[in-house]
């Protein structure tokens, strides 16, 4: 296997935090960061797990053009009811985008971050992308600007990017080996030519790594995204994780391949499967030895609006916001009050955690799932959840493992599938979990979960997630239900879906 060689200088980076496993009793891998660095991510829902329960983000789709093809992408991106990256309902020009950002910022004061992420590649649309950033930096200075790119044009545009006070950049790096790259990227557009195969992948990877180094040298926080493609790059991603950390990336986000045939992508139509939740977790765990891992990504659309995991884009279409006048200075005052209140709450929680006596881990490590509708609280009915957040809990620590998506099993009378089958998707998604907490749960699902070895609870409704997890964990421990033998007895049957 050939690895791309770039600068041998690995000395600079200090931005990377402690690993998920070495961070004391907190469930946020970033909370142990030096203050200055923590301040830069504490209100960014994609860079901080804690922040994502409280702060919202939005993407504006000003970047339709792309300069590479990925096998998990279909460029017929215009779709209103799919939730995946690269999909949007309407492309905006920069002026429309600025108006939309201000409208959303006034309506959703928790919105702290504006990202440009497509539906193509932002840096393949430099004029539209930079015009949007330039205007927002001047007119809405309280919004953090960030950008997500395939990295092909980063080396030439890194300086331009750092002009607009962009502190956060995400680069998608799926491999270091061009042979693997050739199985992911059929072509790139580079130096006025379409280039294919290994040669294309080599150029792309070289530019991604060079771009990463240049951004780190310019004090930009860089997150690296990787799509986990079983049989293609899954074994290789540990190496990616290690190298990008050496080069100064702040966070690594390994995401599952989305490859439904109806999306019309190469992988979707050729039968390439995505990883199960369990496979994804295991890979993320193995990468976390060397790198801080992002576990709460929802793989949102290039025009998403709202908290991670929700999309309020339909409330802010051009038709709806066209005539609205926004008094941004007034909105900024209100926003500041909302932000300060949330940050004060997070600060208090952090200080309380630091002051709490650190216990010696005494219980076994188990996975527990939570149904939440936001605010970091167990506040969703089991049957209404479209995703569960999975946490790893032991005697002293609680850390996020990641979201698991599920289909609603009942859409109302007459829509329920057969009784015995209707929860199978949930059971598959939660197969490696020991317990699930929700605001409420019906008796049918309760029994099926119990039979599958997953302890349900509605007892901690409206508790904070960490509090509920800790209390239920202690209950189960006291009842002897967390003994290692009991814990995995029923969880060994692998999901078949």
């Amino acid at each position: 296997m050939e690895l791309i060689a770039t600068s041998a200088d690995h000395s600079a980076p200090t931005a990377s935090g402690c690993s998920a496993k070495g961070c004391g009793s907190s469930n946020d891998t970033l909370s142990q960061l030096p203050d200055a660095l923590r301040k830069r991510v504490e209100n960014h829902p994609c860079f901080s797990e804690k922040a994502h329960h409280h702060f919202a983000r939005m993407h504006v789709a000003v970047a339709p053009a792309c300069n590479i093809q990925c096998n998990y992408c279909n460029r017929k991106y215009d779709c209103s009811n799919e939730s995946r990256p690269g999909v949007v309902s309407e492309v905006l020009d920069p002026d429309q985008a600025v108006h939309k950002v201000k409208t959303v910022a006034a309506a959703i004061p928790q919105m702290t971050v504006l990202g440009i992420a497509g539906p193509g590649d932002p840096l393949a649309n430099p004029e539209r992308t930079f015009k949007t950033f330039r205007r927002l930096a001047e007119e809405a200075p309280d919004i953090k600007l960030c950008v997500s790119t395939n990295g092909l044009r980063l080396p030439e545009l890194a300086d331009e990017l750092s002009k607009y006070n962009i502190e956060h950049v995400t680069i998608t790096i799926n491999c270091l080996d061009p042979e693997i790259g050739a199985k992911i990227y059929p072509w790139i557009y580079w130096n006025n030519r379409r280039i294919r195969g290994v040669k294309a992948a080599k150029i792309l990877i070289r530019n991604q790594l060079k771009g990463l180094e240049m951004l780190v040298a310019r004090n930009v926080l860089v997150k690296v995204n990787s799509v986990m493609i079983p049989g293609v790059n899954d074994q290789h991603l540990k190496e990616v994780s290690k190298l990008v950390k050496e080069k100064g990336a702040f966070l690594h986000n390994v995401m599952p391949l989305i490859s439904e045939p109806e999306h019309g992508t190469f992988y979707g139509l050729t039968g390439q499967r995505g990883p199960s939740g369990k496979e994804l977790r295991e890979l993320q765990d193995s990468c976390s030895d060397s790198m801080s891992m992002m576990r709460h990504c929802r793989q949102c659309r290039a025009d998403a609006v709202g908290m991670l995991g929700e999309d309020r884009g339909q409330e802010f279409t051009l038709d709806q916001i066209g005539g609205q006048q926004i008094d941004y200075p007034a909105a900024m005052e209100k926003r500041k009050q909302v932000h300060d209140a949330i940050l004060a709450q997070l600060d208090a929680e952090r200080l309380a955690e630091a002051a709490a006596p650190s216990n010696i881990p005494s219980g076994p490590s188990v996975l527990m799932a939570v149904a939440t509708a936001g605010q970091g609280v167990i506040n969703q009915h089991f049957g209404h959840a479209t995703e569960f957040l999975v946490y790893r809990v032991d005697g002293s620590q609680i850390e996020m493992v990641g979201p698991r998506k599920v289909e609603l099993y009942c859409g109302g009378p007459g829509e329920c599938p057969e009784e015995e089958n209707r929860l199978q998707g949930h059971l598959n998604a939660l197969i490696d979990c020991r317990a699930v907490l929700s605001a409420k749960i019906g008796i049918g699902p309760w029994q099926q979960l119990e039979q599958a070895g997953i302890e349900p609870s509605g007892e901690y409704a409206y508790e904070e997630i960490e509090t509920g997890l800790r209390l239920f964990y202690n209950d189960l421990l006291a009842q002897g239900k967390l003994e290692p033998a009991a814990a995995s007895a029923t969880a060994t049957t692998e999901a078949t879906a």
């Binding site: 339709p64 792309c66 017929k76 779709c79 019309g264 139509l269 050729t270």
Partner: protein, 94 residues
């Protein structure tokens, strides 16, 4: 001679941005090439730039009216595996 764009175009702007003669503009339903301005990049680039970046198969015709990117040539998806005709995701045939 000039290239032209079919109704497979997804309006991604990529070709317009790279056209050296500004021959491409946004039309009523998809991008259009002005046949009087298009030079097929002769004398400027080895290959026509729109045809070097266009991501969509069957969206561009050469000066003879032939498809520049037949099905499968850009995505590698075998034509037999395509989403079936009439599927909502697929634009109508030219």
């Amino acid at each position: 001679m000039a290239l032209s764009i079919t109704d497979r175009c997804v309006n991604c702007y990529a070709c317009m941005d790279v056209c050296p003669t500004q021959a491409i503009s946004k039309g009523a339903s998809q991008f259009e090439i002005d046949p009087l301005t298009c030079t097929e990049c002769a004398g400027q680039h080895a290959d026509p730039q729109c045809a070097s970046i266009c991501p969509v198969e069957e969206a561009l015709l050469d000066g003879m009216g032939e498809l520049i990117h037949p099905l499968g040539s850009l995505t590698g998806i075998p034509p037999t595996l395509r989403l079936v005709e009439g599927n909502a995701e697929r634009p109508s045939a030219p």
